[in-house]
């Protein structure tokens, strides 16, 4: 998975460079797919809206990754993508993809692997659906930190990522803070006891194998 990051960089010249300010929508769930994107600089949040109107964050895209691959071939976008901060993005149409694959056959594999990775992210959320919230939080926190370095996130956003209430998140974070597993300052969560969190994450009746492969880097 590590190899996915920045692997699309050689093909940026086929894309169209776009600038987004904070809180701008890159693509909207349900709208007709017009192609896919690459995050060069900045941050993108991926959200999924249920039919009841509940929004859940499914991913924070790290720099150097593709996103919105599910909008290829005119398929409707499965999620929405919103910029977290000022971002530099490259846009690729279906024609661009065909052209890239023609001139660089290895790009087809990078694209499918990246798409499959997004598929795995959804599977991962499902695998944790019935787990205790504390275990889910441990997993997603480890993931955020390993993918993005120390990650700046407020408790409301974190709650949306886990699919729970801010109060629950607050309680558990405070508990971890008191146990000195983490340290919280300026919306940034620092992990002090990574092994404790890993233990908690793996403490289910059935271990989900190879969880680390779901992360981009360790």
């Amino acid at each position: 998975m590590k190899s996915l990051r920045y692997s699309w960089q050689p093909f940026l010249k086929y894309g169209k460079k776009l600038e987004f300010i904070e809180n701008e929508i890159v693509y909207h769930q349900g709208s007709e797919g017009k192609g896919f994107f690459y995050l060069s600089k900045g941050g993108i949040k991926i959200t999924l809206l249920s039919h009841e109107g509940v929004e859940r964050t499914v991913n924070y895209v790290p720099e150097g990754m593709l996103f919105g691959e599910h909008g290829a071939r005119n398929e409707p976008y499965l999620t929405s993508a919103i910029s977290n901060c000022q971002s530099e993005i490259y846009y690729f149409s279906d024609e661009a993809l065909v052209m890239i694959c023609k001139e660089h056959p290895e790009a087809a594999c990078i694209f499918t692997n990246s798409l499959i990775y997004k598929f795995r992210i959804l599977a991962e959320i499902i695998a944790f659906l019935n787990s205790p919230i504390e275990q889910q939080m441990a997993h997603f926190l480890l993931k955020l930190v390993s993918e993005n370095g120390n990650f700046s996130i407020d408790q409301t956003s974190f709650a949306r990522y886990i699919g729970t209430s801010r109060i629950t998140v607050n309680k558990i974070l405070n508990k971890w803070k008191n146990q000195q597993w983490i340290q919280i300052s300026n919306r940034t969560i620092d992990i002090l006891e990574i092994d404790r969190l890993k233990e908690l994450r793996d403490s289910s009746a059935i271990n989900i194998l190879n969880l680390d492969v779901l992360m981009l880097s360790n």
């Binding site: 499918t112 499959i116 795995r120 959804l122 499902i126 019935n130 787990s131 059935i206 190879n210 492969v213």
Partner: protein
């Protein structure tokens, strides 16, 4: 999942790149957690795709039918996160990652099928995130609609026995639901096939348009 009937791909010429494999009823094709190294094309039979959650509960994600490809999600040479089991005796063609590279060169349009297959499966998973605890009716509706999506013409080539095996519902529960749907003219049963007359009713049952 893209069905290959409506594609311009000539699978007969592709099959030479794969290896023919036979699976008996209930045989495992791949298991959650084992490493992937390719994908399968289903020539004959029905394949049940399930996943086990962290609390050990099995969920049916999908049923794959002849003409479809299976197991693409582990083409990145990472562990499978689903388990595929033959519902009845099945014939599959296996294509390794290396075969896939050759195939793409010989038939570039296979990449589109690939992309469509993965995207369709992503939609199934995204729905699962919200349709956590389904009633038996909803479970059945999901499975029938997913299969419909492949066939476009709302004909589902499954027997009641197949559906029992696939959903894990009891024969009696299944019979009751189907009887009710028949009375409401949502579907018709013709021998080994279901004809779905009112797919929108099934979608309504799920509370939203699934596909």
């Amino acid at each position: 999942m893209a069905i290959l009937f409506d594609s311009d791909i000539n699978w007969d010429s592709c099959l030479q790149f794969g290896t023919r494999q036979f699976f008996k009823e209930k045989a495992s094709i791949y298991q959650q957690g084992t490493m992937g190294d390719g994908f399968y094309f289903i020539q004959k039979g029905l394949i049940k795709v399930t996943t086990t959650t962290s609390i050990g509960k099995e969920r049916v994600l999908n049923i794959a039918i002849p003409g479809q490809i299976l197991g693409v999600q582990a083409m990145d040479r990472q562990p499978h996160f689903t388990t595929a089991t033959a519902v009845n005796d099945s014939i599959l063609y296996f294509f390794s990652c290396e075969h896939f590279q050759k195939l793409i060169k010989a038939q570039p349009s296979i990449l589109n099928i690939f992309i469509k297959t993965v995207i369709h499966k992503m939609h199934i998973l995204a729905d699962k995130i919200y349709l956590d605890s389904l009633t038996p009716e909803q479970q059945l509706a999901v499975i029938l609609l997913n299969i419909c999506y492949e066939f476009k013409n709302y004909e589902v080539p499954l027997t009641q026995q197949d559906l029992t095996k696939c959903t894990g519902l009891t024969r009696i529960t299944l019979y009751k639901i189907l009887k009710q749907w028949k009375e409401e003219e949502i579907l018709e049963i013709h021998g080994k096939k279901f004809l779905i007359k009112k797919p929108d009713e099934l979608k309504k049952l799920l509370g939203k348009v699934l596909i």
